[in-house]
C-alpha cells in the first residue's frame, strides 16, 4: 500500500471519536501498540500522513513516559487541545487496564497452583526476551548516530554494565551519562555543517 500523501479523509469528529478509536486500537495491541496506531490512524483512517506520523513518533520517543501514551497525547491535542489529549490517552488505558486487572485476579486465585506458577515463570522469561529484543533491534540505529559508532557503543556498554551488572540506581547513572552524552552530541553537531 502506498503512503497517503495528503489527508483525503476527514479528521476525528469529536473527543468521543478519539476515545473510541484509541480504545479499539489499544485492544488490538499485544506486546506493543505502536504498530497498530500506524496501521489504523495512518493507513485506514488517514488522520495523519506517514511523514506526520514519523515526526510525532520521534517526539513521543524523545519525551519521557510511555511512547504510545505520548503519541496519543500529541495526536489528540492537535485536534481538540487538552480535551483531545485526555480522550485519546484514557481511550488507550481504560479498557486494557480492566483486562489486566481481570487477568491479575484470575492469577491471584490460582497463584499457588504449580502449573500456573510455572506458566508465569515461562511467560516472564519470554517477556524478558521481548524487551531485550526491542533494544537489540534498535542497535543498528546507533551506526548512524552523530556520536560515531565507537563513542555510542562505549556509552551504551557503560550504561548497560552500571544498570544490569552493578545494579546502580538509574537516577545517578542517567544524571552522569545523560548530560555527558548530550553535550558530546551537541559538540559534534555544532562542528558538522548542515546539509
Amino acid at each position: 500500500m502506498t503512503a497517503p500523501t495528503d489527508k483525503a479523509y476527514p479528521p476525528p469528529e469529536s473527543p468521543t471519536d478519539l476515545f473510541i478509536s484509541f480504545t479499539l486500537l489499544a485492544l488490538q495491541g499485544f506486546g506493543g501498540v505502536v504498530g497498530v496506531v500506524q496501521r489504523e490512524l495512518v493507513e485506514k483512517k488517514r488522520w495523519l500522513t506517514r511523514d506526520e506520523f514519523i515526526e510525532d513518533w520521534t517526539v513521543a520517543q524523545i519525551m519521557p513516559g510511555p511512547n504510545v501514551i505520548n503519541l496519543s497525547l500529541i495526536i489528540g491535542s492537535r485536534y481538540f487541545g487538552l480535551k483531545g489529549a485526555l480522550a485519546a490517552m484514557t481511550g488507550l488505558l481504560a479498557a486494557p487496564l480492566f483486562i489486566v486487572l481481570l487477568l491479575a485476579l484470575i492469577y491471584a486465585k490460582f497463584s499457588s497452583h504449580a502449573g500456573v506458577i510455572g506458566a508465569l515463570k515461562g511467560m516472564g522469561a519470554v517477556a524478558a526476551g521481548l524487551i531485550a529484543a526491542t533494544g537489540i533491534k534498535l542497535l543498528p540505529a546507533l551506526k548512524t548516530n552523530i556520536l560515531g559508532i565507537g563513542l555510542a557503543a562505549t556509552l551504551a556498554v557503560v550504561c548497560f554494565v552500571s544498570i544490569a551488572l552493578l545494579r546502580w540506581p538509574l537516577v545517578y547513572v542517567l544524571l552522569v551519562l545523560g548530560p555527558l552524552a548530550v553535550l558530546l552530541a551537541y559538540a559534534k553537531l555544532a562542528r558538522k555543517p548542515r546539509p
Binding site: A26, G31, L97, I99, G115, A128, I131, I136
Partner: protein, 198 residues
C-alpha cells in the same frame, strides 16, 4: 501467595510509593519499562513490598494483555496494596502508582509537544535525541537482563536455571530475526513453564 512480604501501610509508605513513581516518570525515556530495574531495586530489594515472583508476574501479565505495557506499573501498585491485606489498598496502590508514573511525563509531553515540533531543527533538540539514543537502547537490554536474572529462583544458581535463560535468549533471537506474533512465544513460554520444563 508464596513469599508474600508481610507489611502494614501508613500514609508515609503510600506517599513514598507515590513519590517513587513520580520521580521515575521523567526518567522513563524510552518507556516506563526502562525504569523497571529501578522499580525492582526499590520495591523488592530495598522496601520488600513485593516478592520477585509478584514483580515478574506483573510484567508478564501486562505483556500478555493487550494495550500499553505501562500497565505493569498499575499491577505493581495493585500487588503492593494486596500485600497489605486490606480490601481498598489494591485500588489505592494501583491509582497512586499509575497516576504517579504518568502525571509528570504526560504534563511535560503535552506542554513540550508543540514546542518540539516547531523547533525540531534546533541544535539542542537534535543533540538531546542523538545523545540519549545509546543510553535508551542500553536501558532496554539491561531491563531484559535484570528480568531474566530475577526470574531465576533464589534457591538455584544461575547455572541450574539455564533452561529459563535459554528461553529468554531464544525469544530475543527469534523476535529479532523474525516477524512472528508475540502471542505464539508467550503461549510457548506458558506451556513450557506449565509442564515444568523451564
Amino acid at each position: 501467595m508464596i513469599n508474600t512480604p508481610e507489611l502494614l501501610f501508613g500514609l508515609t509508605q503510600w506517599l513514598s510509593l507515590f513519590f517513587h513513581f513520580l520521580s521515575l516518570s521523567l526518567l522513563s525515556i524510552g518507556g516506563a519499562i526502562a525504569t523497571a530495574p529501578e522499580m525492582h531495586r526499590f520495591l523488592v530489594t530495598e522496601q520488600h513490598w513485593l516478592s520477585d515472583a509478584q514483580f515478574n508476574a506483573s510484567i508478564a501479565i501486562a505483556q500478555a494483555a493487550p494495550g500499553p505495557n505501562v500497565l505493569f506499573v498499575a499491577l505493581l501498585g495493585w500487588n503492593v496494596g494486596l500485600n497489605t491485606g486490606s480490601i481498598v489498598a489494591p485500588y489505592l496502590g494501583l491509582s497512586l502508582s499509575l497516576l504517579g508514573s504518568l502525571l509528570p511525563s504526560t504534563v511535560l509531553t503535552y506542554v513540550a509537544a508543540q514546542w518540539c515540533y516547531s523547533n525540531r531543527e534546533k541544535l539542542a533538540v537534535r543533540a538531546f535525541k542523538q545523545g540519549m539514543a545509546p543510553l535508551v537502547v542500553a536501558l532496554l537490554i539491561a531491563t531484559g537482563w535484570i528480568l531474566a536474572s530475577s526470574n531465576s529462583s533464589a534457591a538455584k544458581t544461575t547455572f541450574q536455571d539455564w533452561p529459563l535463560w535459554l528461553l529468554t535468549v531464544t525469544t530475543s533471537l527469534v523476535l529479532w530475526q523474525t516477524r512472528i506474533h508475540l502471542l505464539w512465544l508467550l503461549g510457548a513460554g506458558a506451556l513450557l513453564g506449565w509442564f515444568g520444563w523451564v
